[in-house]
């Protein structure tokens, strides 16, 4: 199968204060297949955002090579920018413009014909039609994220980077985003997402790479990763609902009545 992203021995060193140098990426290799959801799992400071920023042409790497959608990172950054969209760690929406104007703005910048129609259909798809003409600053965290992702879909990019798409969201907002991401992948879009939540990687990703202190220390499907551990012991324990289960159940009841 063809690869949407190929990363080879990527290195990045940041110069800190007083000449101190920190190696953030110490030789990162991974490949993402076309149409899959690939998760970069790691704690804060592992180098996830740096990797995403390099692959989306915002940062230059110090060593190594990469291709995105078949284009070389060093020699064809313009082509890469045409085939990707980046949804950063914080929902980057213009809070003064309305949701509709936000989508239209991106459509105009990408030279899409009929930006207004595209905006209406994307907002409908993300359940934002009712809020379309309200300033994005009045949206909830989950709504801003959905608008953010909707803006990223303008021009149908082949590869979407989602940098910690659910950080800072409440449980409902997180479920909304998960549903959206799954739908995108079903439509054939390649998604590279970073997350620090194990559950998120487990829920969404076809394959998972664990990034730790600038290196990929494990890479594979969830099944493959599970095999790295000793075979499971069967134990019987009482299943307690997690606080999240309780919270969502109560909220769900309230909304249904």
């Amino acid at each position: 199968m063809e690869n949407a992203i190929e990363v080879k021995s990527l290195r990045k060193i940041f110069a800190g204060a007083k000449g101190a140098k920190t190696a953030v990426l110490k030789g990162v290799d991974f490949t993402v297949r076309k149409g899959e959801i690939f998760a970069l799992l790691g704690s804060n400071g592992a180098g996830k955002t740096t990797t995403i920023n390099i692959l989306s042409t915002l940062l230059k790497s110090d060593e190594g090579s990469a291709t995105v959608n078949g284009f070389d990172l060093l020699s064809q950054p313009g082509k890469i920018r045409q085939s990707i969209s980046l949804t950063g760690q914080f929902a980057a929406v213009d809070e003064i413009l309305t949701g509709r104007e936000n989508v239209m703005l991106i459509a105009q910048l990408r030279n899409i014909p009929k930006p207004a129609q595209l905006a209406d259909s994307l907002l409908e798809r993300f359940g934002l039609t009712d809020a379309a003409n309200k300033p994005a600053g009045t949206y909830s965290g989950g709504m801003k994220r959905r608008l953010d992702i909707a803006m990223g879909l303008v021009g149908k990019p082949a590869v979407i980077f989602l940098d910690e798409p659910t950080t800072g969201l409440d449980p409902e907002g997180r479920l909304e985003v998960w549903k959206t991401v799954k739908e995108l992948a079903d439509g054939g879009t390649t998604i590279l997402l970073t997350t620090q939540y194990l559950e998120e990687a487990e829920q969404l990703a076809g394959r998972i790479a664990i990034l730790h202190e600038g290196r990929i220390i494990a890479n594979g499907t969830l099944e493959e990763l599970k095999k790295l551990f000793p075979s499971a012991k069967v134990e019987y324990i009482e299943k307690q609902p997690t606080l999240e289960d309780i919270f969502l159940a109560i909220i769900g009841k309230k909304e249904n009545t």
Partner: protein, 250 residues
């Protein structure tokens, strides 16, 4: 170019939807002009030549104050874009790398020019009269554009580097104050010597004197070259530091 235009349209919407911006950049300078002309004007006139029209006299200073308050919002809008992560969003798109920054600069220029036209119209109602021809007016507009660009590039630096809204706008207070310590509202001869030396050697005095002379069809002399040198010099230095901040932060 097209992308810069689209992004400038976005920022102009920000201004039109912010009553706070409109009040500060247009209404406040007009209120100050009313105060200078109708409250202080009578007293100041006694130290001016007999046939001086004080509305004409103070107008250049009011315009420079309006520009200084206008560019505080340039820094603010830039800071908002930095804080809300708009730069990575736009810079990972197939548009020119400098389009976003230039859209901020153009918005600053455009909005300040609109403010200037509004203030001149109000001044006309208050009795401002000019015997200047088209050429003089073009030179005046050219100086105002250069001054706006100079302060805009100064504003870009805190806009990119500031940690808070207060930090991003605090730099504009000294700039707002410069016209008061110049020949803008009173003749510098009336000031104590230390202040007078400062007033006569800071950029605003040469700019105010040039605009005043051009609008009243008087010979401008060397002062206009001093004014232009200040503007171009500030643009060059501020541009250097602004680009350095832009490259390291964004």
């Amino acid at each position: 170019m097209k992308h810069t235009g689209i992004l400038t349209g976005r920022l102009m919407k920000h201004i039109l939807r912010s009553p706070d911006t409109i009040i500060t950049v247009a209404i406040t300078p007009i209120a100050m002009m009313l105060m200078f002309v109708y409250v202080f004007g009578g007293a100041v006139k006694t130290s001016l030549a007999t046939n001086v029209n004080y509305v004409n006299y103070q107008l250049p200073g009011i315009l420079l104050i309006a520009i200084a308050s206008g560019i505080a919002y340039t820094a603010y809008r830039l800071l908002m874009d930095v804080q809300q992560g708009m730069f990575p969003r736009f810079n990972s798109m197939p548009i020119g790398r400098s389009a976003v920054l230039w859209s901020h600069v153009l918005t600053s220029l455009l909005s300040n020019m609109i403010t200037i036209v509004i203030i001149i119209l109000v001044a006309l109602i208050m009795g401002f009269r000019s015997s200047a021809g088209i050429l003089n007016w073009l030179v005046v507009m050219g100086i105002l554009v250069l001054y706006t660009l100079a302060l805009t590039w100064v504003a870009v630096i805190p806009g990119i580097t500031a940690k808070s809204v207060e930090g991003a706008s605090a730099f504009s207070y000294p700039l707002l104050f410069l016209p008061f310590l110049s020949s803008a509202f009173v003749p510098t001869q009336t000031m104590p010597i230390v202040l007078r030396v400062f007033a006569e050697n800071q950029p605003v005095t040469s700019i105010v004197n040039s605009i005043r002379a051009l609008l009243s069809n008087q010979p401008v002399g060397n002062e206009i070259w001093v004014a232009l040198a200040w503007c171009v010099g500030i643009i060059a230095v501020a541009w250097f530091f602004a680009m350095r901040a832009y490259k390291s932060r964004i």
